[in-house]
Symmetry: C2
Subunit: 342 residues, 2 copies
């Protein structure tokens, strides 16, 4: 058994929705683990005779779209096909029930999704902060990815993992572990990856689709970001800036900033990497730490933001000037570096 | 058995060097798979009672140095501790014999290494072009890394994999698969990774040491490389150039070019990425393809180089001008793109 404690809970969730159509819900601004989990769960539910749809508050990102098969269409909340409103406690086969995946709380799907699905039948997630908001909560913060949980529980129950499912689960594990790099990666992660590749997941396909289809503009954006890098706090922090207008200049969109902040963090000696995005009258920033002890979520909170210990962000609608914000941020980082003795 | 055909050959190699001190030889400009293989083989030989040294024509790269333990010191050919000259066919216990790892031919260690070790007892390698130059040749072009072969054969024979060995093998597999991304990555690769992590390899350690300790100069070098990128052949090839003097300018060394060529390859639509390094009177180039059908080793061969179907290189000591070489290379790439119908 890969998940001896969770698999019986998952079985109970499956039993509780038996025969019903299921909306498999992911979070807003979905990532590979979210989309992969939705596709995989929808496919397995289909094999059990369920009708399924996948619903997200935001579209599937470009680099993950290769996973979406005709069998597992995705809908925005406004575009969902007409269905009976869910009725809590009903066992009517025509009732559309919901299972949330990779969502730490009921709001992660966005307000429209929450309103449409007020009583989730289940939640399958690996976030430490999970709020146990569904009837059946299957949560393992030690899992590297929600897709790792699903892969293990499917195998534990002997549920069929076809090629569509295997590719989706593999992509989720790959992306949520930073390509098998984060501390959450365990022997179980690799064993499950082996099982998925044996069932049709292709490391080369995932590598190509997710990491080898950069746009020309993205490289120009990276170039601009690299040139902007400066170090602060005795070279323990590194800050890069994307000035207002850079997206037009490079033919990119805010989605293309993904991964850039890692270049600020990856420098030897740097403990906190920062990307600052200047927007008309507003400022967005991403903070990344190498060590969770650094608690960059606390730095972000000073500016109204939040997030994880190693990865946080902020979004100031009424922002000071770029120079002023940058100075305030450096002060806050310096204080945090000082507070966290290594 | 992970390697049912090769493991008996490996056993025969081990038997043939029984009791002798062994120099474990890697190639010039060593990479993670080379150094990892040397450390791992040296450790296992030590467990069998052998004295070992590791020898390379060039130093261990900075980002791989974390693998080098006091138990497995590395030597340049000129710095080797005094030993008896090897005598072909001798079974004298004081004779220093040699096993080459990750070397496609006898010259890959450099002239000094070749002269010092003219009669290798064994060669363990995964290069397609391996020349079977040793007494015992253990070669599997289907393996993702020489470290994958060693890990599998060690397990097949029940040889001890301690933490030093596990970390070294893991690093080799991680780097030679491009973080489990290349087409050579199979269920076996992942199963062996699981075994190594269970024995003390740390994905987070490898991720930090190999990918999160970039030098400030390396980012400046990347910046220069990105700015130099141009596309050719209807945007199916992308070429970047590091001009003579760029290492001094950015405070880097040729070692820091590692990984740069991937930025040329990773662009959507680009099938072949190239890095050209201009040196005084000489030219070096690395070629990378997304698809092995592209056989970039054949393009490299036109200029006296070689390598893998997806990753090849060349090194012209008497080179034409940069502009002339670039034009010749574009012609060769265009011909290859034309020859390989997709």
């Amino acid at each position: 058994m890969y998940f001896p404690q969770l698999t019986p809970l998952f079985k109970a969730l499956l039993d509780s929705v038996s025969g019903q159509p299921v909306a498999v819900i992911g979070h807003a601004r979905p990532d590979g683990d979210c989309i992969g989990s939705q596709i995989a769960l929808a496919r397995v539910l289909q094999s059990l005779g369920h009708k399924t749809i996948c619903v997200n508050g935001d579209p599937v990102p470009r680099r993950i779209q290769y996973l979406v098969a005709p069998e597992t269409p995705f809908f925005l909340p406004d575009e969902m096909p007409g269905t009976t409103e869910p009725q809590s406690g009903s066992s009517d086969n025509s009732t559309l029930t919901s299972i949330f995946v990779d969502c730490a709380d009921h709001d992660r799907g966005g307000a429209k999704v929450r309103n449409r699905f007020p009583s989730p039948a289940g939640c399958i997630d690996h976030h430490l902060s999970n709020a146990d908001f569904a009837a059946h909560n299957i949560v393992d913060p030690a899992a590297a990815a929600t897709c790792e949980m699903l892969a293990g529980m499917f195998l534990d129950l002997g549920l069929p993992i076809d090629e569509i499912t295997a590719r989706a689960l593999y992509a989720g594990i790959n992306t949520d572990t930073g390509q098998f790099r984060f501390g959450s990666t365990t022997p179980r992660t690799f064993k499950l990856a082996a099982e998925l590749v044996a069932r049709g997941a292709s490391p080369a396909e995932a590598g190509y689709e997710i990491y080898e289809r950069e746009s020309w503009g993205k490289l120009k954006l990276l170039d601009a970001f690299l040139r902007s890098l400066t170090r602060e706090c005795d070279n323990r922090a590194c800050i890069g800036i994307l000035p207002d207008g850079i997206f037009d200049l490079t033919g990119t969109t805010p989605e293309d900033t993904e991964g850039l902040v890692d270049y600020a963090r990856c420098i030897d000696g740097v403990e906190i990497g920062v990307l600052i995005e200047e927007r008309p009258g507003a400022i967005k920033a991403s903070l990344r730490a190498k060590n969770p002890a650094m608690r960059v979520d606390r730095i972000a909170a000073i500016f109204g933001g939040g997030g994880h210990a190693c990865a946080a962000g902020l979004n100031m609608k009424k922002a000071p000037s770029l120079a002023e914000f940058r100075a305030q941020l450096v002060t806050a980082i310096a204080a945090q570096l000082d507070a966290v003795k290594n």
